[in-house]
Amino acid sequence: MFDFLDSGQYDLLGAFWVTAKLALYSAIGSLIWGTALAAMRVSPVPLMRGFGTTYVNLVRNTPLTVVIVACSFGLDQTLGITLGADRSEDIGFRLAILGLIAYTGTFVCEALRSGINTVPAGQAEAARALGLSFFQVLTLVVLPQAFRAAVAPLANVLIALTKNTTVAAAIGAAEAALLMREMIENEADALFAVFAVFAFGFIVLTLPTGLFFGWAAKRLAVKR
């Protein structure tokens, strides 16, 4: 039943490696972009707050598929922006990362903001009453507590991101979902086996992440 695995015709590990790379690069990028967005949304400058809020609400309500397909049709095929790649697979890969970062950044932003919102105002007021400067209040009192509270929602975002990398198949990045579609076409008699293999692959990718961050969130939780 599983003999399609030995045929050497499909690069299963390679496909999951691409999925893992997509997830890793997008995770790093969206953490940076999401932090920048969160900084804007909590800043005292109204224009930055407005921009952050508008961006988050617009992009979060757009399907990821639309974002990624628009990256391919709009950026690559219309405007000729390929992010320095020449092969169509590489272009798909890089543009998919761009789309995933633009989309996932909004969720990272909201996770961080919800973390900041869990810090009671009294904490910062007490710190200010002790004479700490703005920078000290931020780095010594507010952010350490905010990051601890943000671990659990960030882990959810990370797991969702890993699953969302499959959308990159829509623009031809050679990752797991694309290979699964091809294999299902060719190995119709081993349908369930193919599905089982890919389901297992994704469980292997997401389960340890979930367990680790669940443990970390519990350990780091601020007892109030």
């Binding site: 930055m48 309500n61 757009t62 049709f73 709009g74 219309t78 969702a160 389901a199």
Partner: protein, 296 residues
Amino acid sequence: MSSVLYDTPGPRAKRRNLLFTIGFLAVLALVAWWVLAALNDKNQLAADKWSPFVTDSRVWTTYLLPGLTETLRAAGLAILIALPLGALLGIGRLSDHRWVRVPVGAVVEFFRAIPVLLLMVFANALYREFTTVSSDFRPLYAVVTGLVLYNASVIAEIVRAGVLSLPRGQGDAAEALGMRKGQTMMYVLLPQAVTVMLPALVSQLVVIVKDTALGGALLGFTELLSQNRQITANYGANTIATFTVIALIYIALNAIVTALAGRLEKRLRQGKKSAAAVIPAQGGPADVKSDAVSGA
């Protein structure tokens, strides 16, 4: 305004904020200018690329509206099936009988861990191999099946968390009154849990609407997103304009879903003190409730 991070600004902070505003405005203007220049360079800003969406009703009647109908059909069917199924699975996970609790838990965890796209592709192949569903309807069936399996599991978790968040006394009191387990769930626990879990449920409905687009990109489902090829082919490669309009339709659709749910939530909460804290959304941040409407 003041927050945890900073006090109400004084004169010096106000001046500094003004400087930041000007600097940020300059950066925004630069980016906007760069984007517009790039678009103009490829002739994407020309009026005839954008005007069909306003002047030519056929863009709407032939492509966008039929696509939107398909999107709504898939999303509506998925929601109608996934909500009761999810509630059932959620209650099953809370069962006192191990032989119900354990298998239901396994099913929920399995379908939650798998990307919804894989489920759709698999369902599509299943329908092709084992059923006589005509190929016109197969993508719709596959999309709805994938959405239902995934979202029912997520909704099950929301329901479970909602019921568990209620104070123990609620269930105990119902039991003391002599209610059966089913009655306790139906008349005491679930009605209270619904108010608590509404924000999470709503963000899941938005996820369902958004995920219908997957079928358009990979299964040949003729929903809203998939119309972009037809439109760009018939109206002179107006890719940027088409994607802008399509994205705006999705955003409006999700804003309507969120707004309706916000009103429902208000009505449910009126004059009622909920016994428990609000359940955060799954797979997302804790406060994704009605931000889109309030603009908070």
